[in-house]
Symmetry: C6
Subunit: 76 residues, 6 copies
Amino acid sequence: MSPTIWLESLITDTPQEGFELAITLSRRGVKSTQPDVDTLKKLRPDYANNADSLTAASQVIAINFQTVAAANNYWK
Amino acid sequence: MSPTIWLESLITDTPQEGFELAITLSRRGVKSTQPDVDTLKKLRPDYANNADSLTAASQVIAINFQTVAAANNYWK
Amino acid sequence: MSPTIWLESLITDTPQEGFELAITLSRRGVKSTQPDVDTLKKLRPDYANNADSLTAASQVIAINFQTVAAANNYWK
Amino acid sequence: MSPTIWLESLITDTPQEGFELAITLSRRGVKSTQPDVDTLKKLRPDYANNADSLTAASQVIAINFQTVAAANNYWK
Amino acid sequence: MSPTIWLESLITDTPQEGFELAITLSRRGVKSTQPDVDTLKKLRPDYANNADSLTAASQVIAINFQTVAAANNYWK
Amino acid sequence: MSPTIWLESLITDTPQEGFELAITLSRRGVKSTQPDVDTLKKLRPDYANNADSLTAASQVIAINFQTVAAANNYWK
């Protein structure tokens, strides 16, 4: 979408940084469909206060974390 | 569906290009079920302004990104 | 269900043919639950004009594409 | 649940038999939660005539097919 | 939650026992969020008589079965 | 979000501790989207008393358990 580099590598120093990267990837997936930041802000209360929406968000992070963890050979 | 080649390879130069390819694959999955571009355009406001729909879209991208990342051996 | 052979191999020549096979597998999964073609046709407008249904369909294709891509060693 | 053996092996002769096994696994997953066959029959029209339910059923088959396909080394 | 040991190993003698373990893991996931057994019993009719809920339950089992099957090298 | 270290390693001594870690990862995924603990507490009855929400929560745990189990080579 934008030529800005936001993802240089899947490698992180620690599992926790890997989890943060998984969160970033999940948000980027949302942004790729709705790039307008104002719209995203307006939608925030819809899902941040809904239990099922939060579970769904956690699921996307879990899927992306699988990728990041495998990339880092599970930080072993 | 169409004989046009749109997917020559799963290999990309960078993780970010891999993420873009995952977005393309996700959109192609939609298009394979609804090939009519006008219908897709009409549906856009339905999901681009709905938090749960955006999370669901991000999830499909995450699944496709798993495939692309594995194909590229995680760009290691 | 039917003794007709419809899946001889997971190996395809190109990634794009692999994606087409993933679409076929997804449709077969639907057909295994609802084999009646007329009913399936009647249901088509329900999901082909619904953004969330299209995302869900794309997700099943993405999961099947993971399988097909792994089977083909990512066409490397 | 029942001591009857219904799953002796994940190995199948062909990919198509593997897909059939994935369907069986998906149904067994349902049965483990609702073992009453009469109830399951009564519920059938609910999902067999609903596009989103059919997509969801296809998704479970796709996940189980990943397992069966890996078990068979993709029938290579 | 409880210090009771309920998961000693992912290794099972047969695929079918592995599937039973996947069911156990799925139920434990539910219990970790709602540990009250009486509440769980009260909720049972809600999902045991709903086709989409049963499909969703089968999906969680399928995901856990992937894990158990890989742990057992697919009982090969 | 917070600089506190909460995830030092994906390695656990036992499968059961691995399952507990999967629960932690799932909750962290929720917290990353809604960090306010009071809001999360208020939402609790919404999902802890809803069968489908509990199944969805169990699914996220299952996905994270795949990651943790692979990291530990399935505790073999």
